[in-house]
Symmetry: C2
Subunit: 599 residues, 2 copies
């Protein structure tokens, strides 16, 4: 593929929310538009020009149903069968999706679409607000590391990577879209089937137009089973996508923790709640991950060293964040990062010098214990007053064993009842101390540990990050991989899935998903303007599948339905990491989905 | 004079107390000793070599009384009359001084001296602890601006100025001192005459030795009058030398506001109290003078902007400073700088962003009023609780008239009872609002204003800074100028004197009194180790003279002693700025002193 070396949007080093607060805008974008668009925006130019030869036969606009596993390239004629009618299938309460594709040899002034009523044979209608979606937009991405082994590492020289415009953001804010001749545009349609509708087939159409000029009408049947998926807040699935309030403040150019910031975050976080998120990500110290993201994580706890040498803590920001997240429905757990940050340096406001100071200290040292025991005792008191102590965990990333053990000692000294979570490798020495344990998707828990943890209702999950070439949720990953992961989690009887970055946006996430480190899209799943993405919708598909499997397993166990159980487990046995990349995730997932819907 | 271009100690830009707190030492000194010496230290080499011809006649060590108006050069044979006996004269309670001079053609291993008992004819003895002083040390200085008009302005190229080693610090910490052949060394002797001794002449001697080898015995008579000078704390003189706790923390390499810092400051500030200081200098915001000194002034008030947008203030540091200063006897007034800093930028700890932030705002703006009304209301409450409201002033330096007027409006809005002080030009528009008014020594108050202010007990003073070529207290200024200023203040019926820098030490104040701005010694009067200086002792001489004049004026008025009054005013009439530099300050001061002691 063509290499585009000049498009990476990195004219300034990471500046974070502080600049944003001061209303400082950063340098412009190659599209000429103002930075940080929210309502409407222009995409970056496609590095690949359409092939005249390929497009020669295409004149009038074409409209067909595509599938939701394909990112249809902007410059290419889609390889697609003629399909004017599809059937979606799912439980009541489930969110289903479809993708229509438009391609044209001539310019279109205003592509738009509208949905008819969806009615079953008895005349029952799916409410209009059950449907969502939008135009699938194109964003710049890169590719896996050159050795094909994951997407980790810094990428100071982006010129060695392919630059690729891929379909990912789902733009629900546009009602009409111009199309250039010789280009392709997809339309994503979600149907959130109400839990209360009658089972049956609901029939309707999608009318696709250019302005007032009808291009095509596609048929869509929605086959609703009698089974009911609970509301996301009731799902057992332990979804832990780490949120960044700091990226939102910077991107929206609003002061951190102002009402404007809260207002900007709410729809972004509501979308996460609706995906079944259970955990609030809280940063209880400055830069828990040493500022690795475009916007670093600031402490939500105010650390003050008083002039008399004592520590004082203030939880105003922490409370504001937690209460906002709870208000959108994410209220099951609060994970607090980090007693063992990636750089063992702890910032605080020093009253004596009227300045921000750092203590460099490590678990096992006196200064570390002194400051953290003071903090945790105060924090425990505050959490208990708020009634949050039982849902709060002191959260760690993988650190050397000795460091984690010494950290645990300090936690226990401050308050032995604190829950602890860990995202890292499996360590039998630590496991008994970890309430919420998450290991890489390629690793495994000993069977007896898994059984005991299940019995004790201890959240036990997998994560993916930059390490995995497959399955993953890079902007260039096959969309079905995002669903695959949750089937795999279900196969191994795990409770859910963790990813370290829900919205750690790079500078211009709507335009360019690449970052100075890791493969494109590694740092976020959703887009500004509370725009979803193909990846995120497929991830929800997987979460729903996991939830359905949990429900079916319970039912089959309760009802001693061995046949059902066998079908389920046989289906799950088709999810094997070793099959990547030869067996496409979509193939496995789609087969599994059909089986699941048949049970 | 010879120009030495390489000696200025400025290997690092100003770093201030923060580095000090972290124990970071700065680059070494040309003497090879560790930075920031306290107990003992080596002086910088004299840029001027002794003249072989001049010293040819000097073999054995010579000892004579000198006068206290001369800085005897290290490399030169002192021009001095043979004088083995002197008489000091003063009131009971007064601090008197004398200077002995030793010069030698041969090396001395350990110059030392001891004082005999000082007895009057009735056998009464002055207590041994009445005496203080020490070896007069040499420090590097420069000179006035090249046009001879003061010492203001930055001096990025010190090579254009003379470098001159001058006698100034009085080192009371050494008991013995080696002397190189062909060099001169002075010994400073203070006698703090107790208020309770009998009047009369107390006779004693000063024995000067090299090791155990007696070089000479000098006679000293101390003629004590029956008049009594009150203790410095009781003086009416309004002495306002601005203190820098920040320079002490950095120089002593102790954490700001730690016990070690308090311990280091106490003797330095006690020395100031003993000079009659009445005012505590408090910085209530960050960098009131835009960090113009080697160690910038940090806020003693903690400004916090809470996440809910309200301001919070903490006075722990302010209280600690004020209480420490009061404990050494400086407790009459607290001047708080500054609502109108030199750069209209206000730093605060911002809870939302967990960082130090600045507001740029000016008097007359909404943001300015909002923050300062909040601060002053809180401050007023705190000061009243502490019982300090009546001795506290909101202090300004000269700013444009409109700015000062708008500032006053904000003060009045917050608490109309706040006292205000101003060091700047005389403005009739503002005068009624200013409790403590200080104008440059070359300016003057209208007679009716002076009379009214005196009647209302409003402190009304002069200041000197870098502007004045004469009189001044640069390290190269004639020592008597430091005394002259207070006679001049008395002549004009003013209450005292202000200088902006008691101890804003440059990097290595014991070695080099020069700074990146202003003439040498402009930024400080005393030295680390609570070492006094010739300048400071002469300044005390002037303060005492002012106090004596105030006492005599009152007595002469009360007793209708017109003769005394005339003599006093005639004596004061000899103090005229226009006489500089033709008439040496010492000549005027010494004549005046004799008259004063005769009244």
């Amino acid at each position: 593929m063509k290499r585009i070396t000049t498009l990476l949007l990195s004219c300034l080093v990471s500046t974070g929310p502080l600049l944003a607060q001061q209303g400082v805008t950063q340098c412009g974008t190659p599209t000429g538009q103002a930075p940080f668009p929210i309502q409407s925006y222009k995409e970056l130019p496609d590095p690949v020009a359409p092939s005249e030869k390929e497009w020669a036969a295409v004149k009038a606009p074409q409209v067909q149903w595509g599938n939701t596993d394909t990112r249809y390239a902007k410059h290419a004629v889609p390889v697609i069968q003629s399909q004017k009618s599809i059937t979606l299938e799912g439980w009541r309460g489930e969110k289903l999706h479809a993708q229509a594709v438009v391609w044209t040899g001539t310019d279109l002034k205003g592509l738009n679409y509208s949905l008819s009523e969806f009615k079953n044979s008895k005349g029952d209608v799916l409410p209009a607000d059950a449907f969502s979606g939008g135009f699938v937009r194109y964003v710049m991405t890169d590719e896996l590391n050159k050795d094909g082994r994951g997407g980790c590492g810094y990428r100071p020289d982006h010129s060695i990577y392919d630059s690729l415009l891929v379909a990912d953001p789902i733009d629900h804010l546009l009602t009409s879209m111009p199309m250039e001749a010789k280009s392709t545009q997809a339309i994503w349609i979600n149907c959130q089937v109400p839990q209360t509708v009658s089972p049956g087939v609901y029939r309707g159409t999608v009318e696709v137009k250019d302005g007032d000029n009808r291009l095509s009408t596609l048929k869509m049947d929605i086959k609703v089973s009698s089974r009911v998926l609970p509301a996301p807040s009731q799902w057992a699935f332990h979804l832990d996508l780490w949120q960044s309030p700091f990226a939102v403040a910077r991107y929206y150019q609003v002061p951190l923790w102002s009402q404007a910031h809260i207002d900007a975050m709410r729809p972004v976080m509501k979308m996460l709640a609706d995906a079944g998120q259970k955990i609030i990500t809280a940063s209880i110290m400055h830069k828990p991950w040493n500022g690795q993201t475009y916007d670093y994580f600031e402490s939500m706890v105010t650390w003050t060293k008083k002039v008399n040498g004592t520590w004082a803590f203030d939880y105003d920001v922490f409370d504001k964040w937690v209460e906002m997240m709870m208000s959108v429905g994410i209220d099951k757990q609060i994970n607090c990062y980090s007693m063992v940050p990636w750089k063992l340096s702890f910032q605080y406001f020093d009253q004596a010098t009227n300045s921000m100071q750092y203590v460099k200290t490590a678990p096992g040292e006196k200064a570390y214990e002194e400051m953290w025991v003071a903090m945790l005792k105060s924090f425990s008191k505050h959490l208990r007053e708020k009634g949050w102590f039982d849902i709060c965990t002191i959260a760690m990333d993988e650190r050397p064993m000795e460091v984690m053990q010494k950290t645990l000692q300090v936690i226990r000294k401050a308050d032995p009842e604190f829950k602890v979570s860990l995202a890292g490798n499996f360590h039998k020495e630590l496991e008994a101390d970890i309430y919420d344990y998450c290991i890489p998707i390629g690793a495994s828990y000993p069977a007896e540990v898994l059984a005991r943890r299940a019995q004790n209702n201890l959240p036990t999950t997998y994560y993916t990050c930059c390490t995995e070439a497959f399955p993953n949720t890079f902007t260039f990953s096959d969309p079905a991989e995002a669903a695959w992961m949750s089937y795999y989690s279900a196969k191994d009887h795990l409770d859910g899935y963790l990813r370290w970055a829900y919205n750690s946006w790079p500078k211009e996430p709507l335009l360019d998903s690449r970052f100075e480190a890791w493969a494109g899209g590694d740092t976020y799943l959703v887009y500004p303007g509370a725009r979803s993405s193909i990846r995120f919708e497929k991830l929800i598909e997987g979460v729903q599948a996991h939830e359905k499997i949990t429900i079916l397993r319970k039912e089959f166990t309760d009802k001693k339905n061995k046949t059902g159980f066998k079908k389920l487990e046989k289906m799950l046995s088709t999810f094997n990491l070793r099959d990547f990349p030869e067996v496409p995730a979509a193939e496995t997932v789609n087969k599994a989905n059909k089986i699941l819907n048949s049970l």
